[in-house]
């Protein structure tokens, strides 16, 4: 059992990293530990727990800015923002249901370290796009800051982009600042029924190319759609489009989108409550939840060009009995594959190589995550650059070594 170190404040974090350097130990940086099952299994001597670094230190709704200590629960931030009718517009997904953990947990530091986003990614961006500033302790045991508290800032390198999605392997964030945005007054969702994957991609491309300002577009084939039965007609494939904004605008765009997508066949409308339920399910990939019918399946997450979604899916479906759902107008595929020894990695990697993009094995037993590449393998030049970037922050490899790639 690895040691666990719980930091009380930012100076503890610095001290812990310096200890690791002096003792030649490796640390796994965690918040509430909700994503420890994602990535290559830890090769660390101790966990450095930041969940004690809590508290929202600044929130100015009219400036659209919030600062918090990295271990602050996301739920606490969501609640405070909601009270001012604001939100984190990138709609961070909750990996809990997929990874077999309670829903609603996790810290803001974890949200950023995993660069989370949700269905609104296609319109509003990911965590990276809302991450304004940070204080962090590098693998050199030095506390540095980057960015600021204003949205428009080009002073020095934008290290926030690098910290977002680095899974705690470059630095341990202690304080973070994010852009907040008003939440939409209302929403509605238009659903097209019975489309196959290829037709759904065409419908989504048409909707996204319109001025209807669609804030989310997903396609759930019939076998997946049945598992979100509480919000939609359960037994048919659904292709869903979310419209958000002030009521008169949503009404107007709804009729425009209905007219535009009429050639694609049968339609249905979801009201605001149904819409919220559906997109929560899509965001958290609940059709593949660990406690559901696909709970034993291995899960791949694939990002590709939206028009390549159907082709990429077909390449996988032709050689396996996978279940696949599509978000991001076809550009995000969640692939559930029956448990097996190789996670069908060569099949998935080959499909991604042909269609473009990247794949991550997000749910698999630890033994499998140790043998199959979890993150997208890189070309030699990019791999070497990645390693140099890692070393520029963490020359001794004390922060989550091997979490993303073996030897990095």
């Amino acid at each position: 059992m690895a040691d666990a170190v719980t930091a009380r404040d930012a100076s503890d974090v610095e001290a812990a990293v310096q200890w690791a350097l002096a003792e030649n130990k490796a640390l796994e940086i965690i918040g509430q530990g909700t994503k420890q099952r994602l990535g290559r299994p830890a090769q660390s001597d101790a966990t450095l727990n930041l969940s004690g670094l809590t508290g929202i230190t600044l929130y100015e709704p009219e400036e659209l800015v919030l600062s918090a200590k990295a271990g602050t629960p996301l739920a606490e931030i969501d609640a405070l923002l909601a009270a001012s009718a604001q939100e984190l517009a990138f709609e961070p997904m909750d990996y809990g249901p997929l990874l077999g953990l309670a829903a609603g947990a996790g810290t803001i530091g974890g949200v950023l370290a995993a660069n989370l986003s949700g269905p609104r990614r296609i319109k509003a961006g990911a965590a990276r796009d809302h991450f304004l500033g940070a204080c962090a302790v590098s693998g050199r045991g030095e506390t540095f800051k980057t960015g600021g508290r204003v949205v428009k800032n080009v002073t020095g390198y934008d290290l926030c982009k690098l910290l977002a999605g680095s899974w705690g392997t470059l630095a341990a964030m202690t304080d973070v600042t994010l852009k907040t945005l008003p939440r939409a007054e209302t929403e509605a969702t238009l659903v097209l029924l019975d489309l196959d994957n290829a037709a759904a991609m065409k419908a989504m491309a048409a909707a996204m190319s319109s001025s209807c300002d669609v804030s989310a577009a997903a396609h759930l084939p019939k076998n997946v759609a049945v598992r979100v039965s509480d919000s939609v007609p359960a037994t048919r494939a659904i292709t869903a489009f979310r419209l958000e904004g002030v009521a008169p605008s949503v009404v107007h765009r709804q009729s425009a989108l209905q007219a535009l997508t009429r050639p694609f066949g049968a339609q249905d409308m979801l009201n605001a409550a149904q819409s919220r339920a559906l997109w929560r399910a899509v965001r958290d990939v609940t059709p593949f939840a660990a406690n559901g019918p696909a709970g034993e399946h291995l899960i791949w997450r694939i990002s590709t060009a939206p028009t390549k979604g159907a082709e990429l899916a077909q390449r996988i479906l032709a050689a396996s009995d996978a279940e696949i759902m599509f978000d991001w107008a076809g550009g995000l595929l969640w692939v559930a594959i029956a448990a097996c020894d190789d996670a069908r990695a060569s099949l998935v990697r080959r499909a991604v190589e042909v269609c473009g993009g990247h794949a991550t094995l997000v749910r698999a037993p630890a033994a499998l995550r140790a043998t199959v590449a979890v993150f997208e393998p890189q070309q030699p030049g990019l791999a070497a650059l990645t390693k140099r970037v890692k070393q520029s922050f963490d020359p001794q490899g004390v922060l989550g070594p091997g979490r993303m790639w073996a030897g990095v």
């Binding site: 990911a126 949205v151 080009v154 390198y157 680095s166 190319s209 008169p248 060009a305 390549k308």
Partner: protein, 497 residues
């Protein structure tokens, strides 16, 4: 020139003829410029107070040529400064006397327009506006719109992470770029991103964007395009004080409204503009605000009415909603002509670019007024009010001895003030050489060293655009040294379980 640049490498200069010959072997024909007269156009960028002839200018037109030029310069320890259209306002493309000026203007083709994926693939020398021009027939546009968009290139936009007046709603360059091909100083060609979202590993695209040409040379860019909003309406608001104007901005956002654009001008700027453009701006106000709402007609009408109500409650003394597209454009014509308008009333002006928390605007304007008296130089302000990006224009006359230096000192004081109130040194123009020596006002040595270590991972010899952004140049080996404080760590104090 008051900024110190790296010492000229005499060994390189002594080999100049050989270097020119070697470069001509890589880039044939007119692609290598070595005559002083022909290099003259490259001696400065948009920050014209700084001038320096490069050792030689190279204008490659293929990625392979870029790669070979860089590999050659890397092997021979020759510095390289990349340049797009040369519109940088911070001296980012200022040449080095012992360096190669790598002009990317020949990379001017739109390689692919992909409406179904809503992306365009362009070469870096394509101008910002040309991207929109290439797709507007189908109702699309490229959102970031820096005011130099007619001339500035996408490659330069990547280097500077350029913004524009629509940033608050549509983001800056970094939020609108999906992929790029870059060539490292070693000549290695690396592809980052593509038509898909997010990185499969570290977000190196996010780092390259805004790196001011210090990490690599961009040879291809994939940008996201958006469908044009159905319509747009603007409202012109005048206020008796900047406090009222600032209050109105805060309340609009507080009401959950994110305008497509929200621009403010102070009295000197309003007067200069009105005299020049006759946009119908009120002359009896201290602050003028243009708020533009875009989207479907129903949304614009609904929100403009709410903005109008908010403005009333904020004591607006003028409130005019654009009744036609012509009138909307007229409102903007004034704002867009603000820089040349100020140029008409003063022999020279120095454009600053800080960002502040919006609420600090009245304080910053007041302090700036005091500085204006101290330095004996007038200042006019235009302000991207939505995102807090302030452009003070300092009026001076370069023919009066000492005025340029006074203007620069005044500007530095303004930027220090921006940092003091919680803002930053630059919102969209970049650090370059202009703000390089102010970086310690915002960052500690540790902060800056970490940034330079990242630079080392891309350019270990420090040959790409040295002398920009960082006030002190360190050797990478020196930066890489570790000082481990064994035994001094208060680790036992930390709870363990």
């Amino acid at each position: 020139m008051s900024v110190k640049m790296p010492v000229l490498d005499q060994r390189t200069l002594a080999r100049r003829d050989d270097i020119v010959r070697a470069l001509r072997a890589i880039v044939p024909g007119e692609g290598v410029i070595a005559h002083e007269r022909e290099m003259r156009p490259y001696e400065s960028d948009g920050l014209t107070a700084y001038r320096q002839l490069p050792m030689v200018v190279v204008l490659p037109d293929t990625t392979q040529q870029v790669s070979r030029v860089l590999a050659y310069c890397h092997a021979n320890e020759i510095k390289v400064v990349p340049r797009g259209a040369g519109t940088s306002l911070s001296g980012g493309a200022l040449p080095l006397g012992d360096g190669v000026l790598l002009g990317m203007a020949k990379f001017n083709r739109v390689r692919e327009i992909d409406f179904d994926n809503r992306v365009v693939v362009v070469e870096p020398g394509v101008t910002n506006l040309a991207v929109t021009r290439a797709v507007e027939h189908a109702g699309f546009y490229y959102a970031p719109d820096p005011s130099s968009q007619i001339a500035c290139t996408i490659g330069g936009n990547i280097a500077e992470n350029s913004g524009g007046v629509h940033c608050l709603k549509y983001g800056m360059t970094t939020n609108n770029v999906l992929g790029c091909e870059i060539v490292l100083m070693t000549g290695e060609i690396i592809r980052l991103g593509g038509k898909h979202l997010d990185a499969g590993g570290y977000d190196l695209l996010g780092i390259v964007t805004g790196s001011e040409g210090l990490l690599g040379v961009v040879t291809e860019v994939t940008v996201r395009i958006l469908k044009k909003p159905e319509t747009a309406r603007a409202i012109l608001l005048g206020f008796a004080s900047s406090v009222d104007g600032g209050d109105c901005v805060a309340r609009i956002i507080g009401a959950g409204i994110i305008p497509g654009g929200m621009e403010m001008m102070d009295r000197p700027a309003i007067h200069a503009v009105e005299e020049f453009v006759h946009a119908g701006y009120p002359l009896d106000v201290e602050a003028l605000l243009i708020v533009e709402i875009d989207g479907p007609q129903a949304e614009c009408d609904h929100l403009i009415e709410r903005v109008s109500d908010i403005a009333k409650s904020c004591r607006a003394t003028t409130s005019r909603v654009s009744a036609s597209e012509e009138e909307r454009l007229l409102f903007w014509a004034g704002r867009k002509a603000a820089f040349p308008a100020v140029g008409r009333v003063s022999p020279d002006y120095y454009c600053m670019d800080g960002t502040i928390p919006r609420a600090k605007l009245p304080l910053v304007l007041q302090r700036m007024g005091e500085m204006s008296e101290k330095y004996g130089l007038a200042v006019a302000n235009v302000f991207h009010a939505g995102d807090g990006n302030l452009h003070p224009l300092i009026l001076y006359d370069a023919n009066n001895p000492g005025e340029l230096e006074r203007a620069e000192d005044f500007g530095s004081d303004i930027l220090r003030l921006c940092v003091e109130v919680g803002g930053v040194l630059t919102g969209e123009h970049g650090v370059g050489v202009e703000k390089r020596d102010l970086m310690p006002a915002m960052f500690s040595e540790i902060d800056l060293n970490q940034q330079q270590r990242l630079k080392c991972s891309f350019d270990e010899k420090g040959l790409l655009n040295p002398g920009k952004v960082f006030p002190t140049l360190h050797r990478c080996a020196e930066l890489g040294r570790m000082h481990i404080r064994a035994g001094k760590v208060p680790f036992p104090d930390i709870p363990r379980f």
